[in-house]
Amino acid sequence: MKGTIALCLAFLAYPFVFSNAFYLDIGVALLLAAISASAWNIVGGYAGQVSVGHCMFFGVGAYLPLLVYQHWQLPPIVGVPVGIAISLVLAVLVGLPTFRLSGHYFSMATIAVAELIRLVVSTWDFAGAAIGLQGPAVGRGWYDLTFRGELPYYFIFLGVLVIVLAVTWQVQRTRFGYYLRAIKAGERAARSLGVPVRRTKLYALMLSAAFTSVAGSLYAIKTGFIDPDSGFGILVSVQMVIIAALGGAGTLYGPLVGALILIPLQTATNTWFGGGGTGLTYILYGGIIVIIARFEPGGLHEMWQRIAPKLWKRHAA
């Protein structure tokens, strides 16, 4: 509890301590990454269903606000609930057949579906095809959510992250949360204890998809631009998986911890190497995957749990 309060205070204080645009930008990017990774964590971490196709929900969430603006001149925020609704339908359509598969086969199926959607969107004129869509360049009012500075975005994103984490915390404590962890630990045994495995997985995917869609919407509204790669690209999915796995998949704060490490690191490599370093993101991701898989499959959370008691002991002695 103390840790949670300290964390909240730190996040509230950050934009005032590091008020220059560069650091604020990192803060916003970090919060967004934490939101999407936390959303992924519900189905990928707790239920252990490693989806590598979550960009499909992120993309839907990102496209809808700009679609409603482009075609009907509606405020982008109108597209957010529509994006959530479509993501929920998509989650059911994708979840029903793919949850018959387990382990790697499930992951591969999700990649395939996401790539299919990316290809369709990149040739679909209505959705801006390969060029993408743009939001309002100048806000027509507060409802367009186009702010000049980063500060309002920072607090909106922080608010959404708090909601996602609060819901996750609540899920952890309910029957639903226990069932998710049981499914991860052993589907066959879970089933024999009366856990409705397929339905539980589907609900988890729907909840996760809804939050991921919101993350996509936030990204598009803030950036004011979306194209097939930044919405439906595989890197979007991979980033969620890596951040969650780095911090500790299936734990409340794991994704946030992962984002705290990965986003500054990513920004650092991008700044040092400038435009020439774009490919470095892939190398960074690859390196992290190797390190996590080889040394710390439970992520930093598990490492901390192992090390912390020893540290206290030394401290006491």
Partner: protein, 244 residues
């Protein structure tokens, strides 16, 4: 009658693992299911638990046809089972393991927790409730599996070699535990290789061989049965005895 299986068969390609097996279980019984390796016990057992779909036949539990019902439905109706190799949730604590079972009849967390603690007390794992399942040894994990099933409130419990691999002392404790569970009103089907367990616990024994039920009856009677001795020792055992 609590459960009846009529003419249950299961074929895997050309192999008939179970060939027209019949079984009737009355409420309150303890039934031992024995037979040599590969006799079809486990396949039949899995048909009863809803994990394997029989090729032919019909299984009725308390008036409900459960032949094609899922394992979840079996659990909900009151048929619980353990696994030959303990399938405990290794990363979860002992208490959380049992709570997953308890949630079936107690949707609310505090109620599920209270019920799980009661069950842990019964099986004697209460002092280890905060340990992760992986840190228990084989006897502990078998006990935990039984606890988990017990928490779902079963009327019929299927134990698949739940007592195998225990030391003689642990075995006595486990037998006492099974008796205690039976006293709470749970009907039991026990698949077991250890004759000591079967002879002391079961009131009725069903003997499987090559997919068929070759004998059934009271323990003392079954061990003297010609067909049973033949299935276990082979046809030549009498001549061999005479020579001796």
């Amino acid at each position: 009658m609590l459960l009846s299986a009529q003419n249950v068969s299961k074929e895997f390609g050309n192999l008939r693992a179970v060939a027209g097996a019949d079984l009737a279980i009355e409420e309150g019984e303890i039934i031992g299911l024995i037979g040599p390796n590969g006799a079809g016990k486990s396949t039949f057992f899995n048909c009863l638990a809803g994990e394997t779909l029989p090729t032919t036949g019909k299984i009725v539990f308390d008036g409900v046809d459960v032949t094609t019902a899922s394992p979840e439905t079996h659990a909900r109706l009151g048929i619980g089972r353990t696994f030959q190799v303990p399938a405990t949730f290794e990363d979860l604590t002992v208490l959380d393991n049992v709570m997953v079972g308890a949630f079936l009849r107690h949707p609310h967390r505090t109620h599920a927790r209270a019920h799980a603690l009661k069950v842990l007390d019964l099986v004697g794992l209460k002092d280890r409730q905060d340990l992760r399942a992986r840190s228990l040894g084989t006897p502990g994990r078998k006990r935990l599996e039984i606890a988990r099933v017990l928490a779902t409130g079963p009327r019929l419990m299927l134990l698949d070699e739940a007592l195998a691999g225990l030391t003689p002392a642990e075995l006595q404790q486990a037998i006492a535990l099974v008796r205690k569970i039976h006293e709470t009103g749970v009907t039991l089907v026990i698949v077991e290789h250890i004759m000591e367990v079967i002879m002391t616990l079961a009131r009725r024994i069903i003997v499987f061989n090559q997919g068929h039920v070759i004998a059934q009856g009271e323990p003392q009677q079954v061990v003297k049965d010609e067909a049973v001795i033949e299935a276990y020792l082979g046809r030549g055992h009498r001549n061999w005895r005479k020579k001796d």
